[in-house]
Symmetry: C2
Subunit: 274 residues, 2 copies
């Protein structure tokens, strides 16, 4: 792997900042707020930020960079796909519980639902995330899906996944803003009380986590090398066309968006022969 | 260009949604709010959202996709770089005026500055954007900068630029949230008055604009074809090494992040000979 120690730094930094974000959100609700409970009150609302940060953001970020970890490159590709899908499904489940918690709290407190931009974009993100998982499973885990579809949709799968991840962090920042304005009264948010500053730092940590994950995931030299990407895409390691192990260079060229690393390695090999 | 009509659709959609966002923010401040003025009052604050949307977001988005427009591919690369830098500089200037307007309004109204997450991330974005412009000019417009530095920093230049663009939209969404909560009192934001819904739609438009711009800018087959990318990087069309017009394939391979299109076209050529 190119620049392995730089990669290691970015992955460790992402993990550290992600874990720190979870610690911050837990301290926020346990130390500054009413704790956690499923009682229809403020403590139930507090499940919303905790599950969104630990689940929808941290687990999703982990799912996104799981393919980049070189320790996993020896694993069967199908197993890695299942881990990727499983992490996303766990993130989605926690996001749904988190959404139910906030609706439940609103209904009990007679606060209207779905009036704010945070709620509009948040609910849209949960629905689109669900759609992204369904389309991802149909395209990349159902063995009969044609390889041409898999390759054609890969850039969209990657783009939509990254967009959703970044968008969900933006929605979380809006949620933090709302909550601090609504809940800090004496002293007010504008008087910069310790809780306001502490939760602002949580917001900064989420931005840094998002930037580290997206950088690590999109850096071309850190993509998973896979000489048989089309073969794997086609057969899931055991489909009807498992005899085909040598895709032509033109096929790799067309699938470049799916995994540019293959193309780059081919260039290297051709270049060495020049 | 691959899928020209699809590209055209995305660029036109981005332009339409961007212009619509500007119309929405202008209607917001002229119809629902106190209009525009430089008087230290609410009308001066209103310059903040207008200049941020029209300047910092729309102009920045235009600067990002300017290299993708095929009508510009016949232009001298240096001229295109100057247009790119000029648009970013205009966006930065409007962002600074917009920031001064909000500080001026706060000071006159005795509202504290820099307490909210929106203000922390917003000011950080303006400072980092300034830094990005300075580093971009030193790397890509100063003729003596070594070609190796230009190629090595291009992925970071592109990543940081895209991250700032997305981050600034997120900051704008937080600003919209703050303003609607603070300014809508009778009826309150939670009662979904027409202004609340109208400005929520503005927020959705900004998200769609950001998604369209980032998709158009990052889609590999839509990158500017440039057979002499390293030559241009090295000499700015007239430096000391203008006699070198044929970079080797290994040089192109190392500069793949700077412009993958070159690499992909080389693959095509090699493939045709196989």
């Amino acid at each position: 792997m190119e620049n392995f120690y730089r990669f290691l730094f970015f992955v460790c930094a992402a993990a550290a900042v992600g874990v720190l974000s979870i610690i911050f959100v837990v301290i926020w609700v346990l130390h500054y707020k009413e704790g956690l409970a499923w009682d229809g009150g403020a403590a139930e609302f507090n499940l919303h930020p905790v599950l969104m940060v630990a689940g929808f953001i941290f687990l999703q970020g982990t799912a996104i960079i799981i393919f980049r970890l070189p320790w996993t490159w020896a694993c069967n590709k199908l197993v890695m796909k299942l881990i990727h899908a499983g992490l996303h499904l766990s993130a989605f489940t926690l996001a749904v519980i988190s959404t139910v918690a906030v609706f439940d709290f609103h209904n009990n407190a007679k606060i209207p639902n779905m009036y704010s931009l945070h709620s509009w974009l948040g609910l849209a993100a949960v629905i689109l995330y669900c759609l992204q998982i369904v389309v991802g499973v149909v395209l990349y885990l159902v063995p009969i899906t044609p390889v041409a579809w898999r390759a054609a949709f890969m850039p969209y799968h990657v783009f939509c996944g990254t967009l959703l991840f970044v968008g969900i962090i933006a929605v979380a920042l809006m949620g933090i803003t709302e909550k601090l304005i609504f809940s800090l009264k004496i002293p007010k948010y504008s008087e910069s009380p310790p809780e306001g500053i502490f939760v602002n730092v949580l917001g900064v940590l989420l931005v840094v986590f998002g930037a580290l994950v997206v950088f690590t995931a999109t850096r071309v030299p850190w993509k998973r090398p896979n000489d048989q990407v089309l073969h794997t895409l086609h057969t899931n390691e055991g489909g009807e066309d498992s005899g085909k192990v040598g895709p032509s260079l033109s096929e790799l060229s067309h699938a470049a968006d799916a995994d540019d690393t293959d193309v780059r390695r081919r260039i290297g090999k051709l270049d060495e022969t020049n």
